[in-house]
């Protein structure tokens, strides 16, 4: 076993490596979707997999997302572990019926006789200058669908770890990849990467005592940056990276909020009907008497995703997070 030193890697590289390792370890793992073969995917996450494992293990499909997911259901019925790629968030919508009416329900329908270990990779979110339909944050739809796991990495480590765990899961996992973090780099040791076990644990990315920022995916770096900036205002913010929206780690989140007494949920998805409502509501149910202020939300506006030239006005940034923190009724404190 050759030891390779820790070196900078992108999230894209870690994801690719997770797919590769999963395929190498388990011949039941099959990757398919639009352009994932020869091209290696439009984000190159599957680059080289067809060359290494053959066209059958990493296959280009016809251009039809319901067909892709529907075929994955059949393949999983026969014992394979399909990993499908939806090219962009909005292009997963044609497969919605297969997802909601079959993928999420098959295990339950058959009293466990027919589990569907399918991983559905969906690059999501904005911030990359994509034109319409290329920047949706669609996680609220999946969260509202019992039977699915919904996970999303925010770090290079987690990209590898969560994707391995997702593929290893005997349940369907909607694996949401924050597009704008694909090329974010971090030190990473590709020789001893580990799966995140079990799926469903949040992680405290930064310890703090004044208030908790609850976030996930593309907004984790935003919150960490906000937490640094907040020091100047005298706030010591804790940042919780949910990693998994389903299952939801009530324990970690509630423990943090009980400690800090204040919380802001930060995500890029639209606010109304978005994940933040659920998160704020459950935190409030669990921590009501510890709360000095209502749990606030910083989210994308309740609008169709903005065109590229206006997206910076739409996306929650450091300032908006700090504004929300400022509205956490600090008067009571002094």
């Amino acid at each position: 076993m050759t030891t390779v030193a820790v070196k900078p890697a992108t999230m894209a590289q870690a994801l690719r490596r997770a797919l590769r390792d999963a395929m190498a370890e388990d011949p039941a793992v099959h990757v398919f979707g639009e352009d994932v073969g020869t091209l290696g995917g439009v984000f190159r996450i599957t680059d080289g997999l067809a060359a290494e494992f053959g066209d059958d293990r990493c296959a280009d499909t016809p251009l039809a997302e319901a067909g892709i997911l529907g075929a994955a259901v059949g393949m999983a019925m026969y014992g394979l572990r399909p990993v499908v790629e939806m090219q962009f968030d909005a292009f997963a919508y044609p497969s919605f019926e297969q997802l909601v009416s079959h993928v999420s329900k098959m295990r339950n329908r058959t009293r466990g006789a027919m589990p569907l270990p399918i991983t559905i990779r969906i690059p999501y979110g904005g911030g990359i200058g994509g034109v319409e339909h290329h920047s949706d944050s669609s996680e609220a739809y999946y969260m509202a669908t019992p039977g699915l796991h919904v996970v999303t990495p925010a770090t290079v480590d987690d990209a590898y770890g969560l994707l391995r765990a997702a593929i290893a899961s005997d349940d369907p996992v909607v694996f949401m990849e924050p597009k704008r973090l694909y090329w974010a780099k971090a030190d990473w040791s590709p020789d001893a990467p580990a799966a995140v076990e079990p799926i469903g644990r949040a992680v405290v990315r930064r310890r703090g005592s004044s208030a908790t920022l609850i976030t996930y995916g593309p907004c984790v770096p935003v919150c960490l940056e906000a937490a640094e900036a907040a020091r100047a205002e005298g706030w010591d913010l804790e940042v919780v990276d949910l990693r998994s929206l389903v299952p939801f780690d009530d324990e970690t989140v509630a423990a943090s909020v009980r400690r800090t007494g204040r919380a802001v949920v930060v995500h890029e998805s639209t606010g109304f009907g978005g994940p933040g409502g659920e998160i704020a509501a459950r935190v409030t149910e669990r921590c009501f008497h510890h709360l000095e202020a209502p749990v606030l939300r910083v989210a994308g506006y309740d609008i169709p995703y903005a065109p590229p030239m206006l997206e910076r006005h739409h996306l929650p940034g450091v300032d908006r997070v700090l504004d929300a923190v400022a509205r956490l009724q600090w008067e009571a404190e002094s």
Partner: protein, 389 residues
Amino acid sequence: MQNSRTPVQEPPGAPGRSAETPPSVRALGADPAPLLPDAEPFRVLGTDAAAGADSALLLRLYGELVSGRRFNAQATALTKQGRLAVYPSSTGQEACEVAAALVLREQDWLFPSYRDSLAAVARGLDPVEVLTLLRGDWHTGYDPHLHRVAPLSTPLATQLPHAVGLAHAARLKGDDVVALALVGDGGTSEGDFHEALNFAAVWQAPVVFLVQNNGFAISVPLAKQSAAPSLAHKAVGYGMPGRLVDGNDAVAVHTVLAEAIERARSGGGPTLVEALTYRIDAHTNADDATRYRDAAEVEAWRAHDPIRLIEDELTGRGALDEDGIREAARTADEMAARLRERMNADPVLDPMDLFAHVYAEQTSQLREQAAALRAELEAADGQDTGEGR
């Protein structure tokens, strides 16, 4: 970029080149002619070809048809007694149901739609387990692996890509397995039908699609569903053969499906079979078919009855007599009596099952919810006992 200087800005090249045949980027598929269905549906019974049919197969089909019709009648009767939530009967379509079940080998898979309880039963599943969905105690009552029958699929045409995926997976594994998927005429209009057939053809998956064209999707007649010469003509658009068959002729359906299955297993790819049949009953027990069709049409189809067709052939060749007919009816009656008896017993239900199979491992929130329901049930139990109800 290769087009930063475009050809048009340069002087045109040697004339004559442009008149060449353009290069082909498309592997033009096979000759379309053999993919097209015949104008007339394939028939065996009542034709000269009937003589060639094997008596043993005919008798087997006959017995299952008779039992099948009895099954439909019994299940429909059970809805009236409140024992089933709903029943979509396949009376009139038994030839398709039975042939689909009998033509499959043990290792093959059946993908039924919501109307195909009978096919699942004829394939060997416990009828009570098949009826679980329609009784309403659970969504699927049988283990699909047991007889390789996928759950009855309610969202129309959604089972077709499943069949393709399963067949493809089996082929990748090198297993000799064929999938047979059933769908209605209405279901052919769904996008999933299109995507499934296309995947099947591109992958050359060992799958056979059987469209039971019974003339209606609930109240909507075929003419409002499709303007195609026939539904089987859709096959050519995917590059697979389309076959048209008399769906009330069990031997013909069996023959066409057997050929298609043989083609699939020997690497010849998928086939689309359209079987012309008719739904004698209403859409379900809840439907009132008189709102949208004439009794005369129903009567005309009764005259082309799938059981009568095969019975005539069997009696004609002396392989079936009055005794045999009575025997088949008796067997069917016994089956129905057993079914009635078993269905008249209340199913044993455990509300806690609601939380048991949502995930491989229960999430903490489901554990909380399960605990809450358990507490509710215990409280109610206590109350019930206390109040002597």
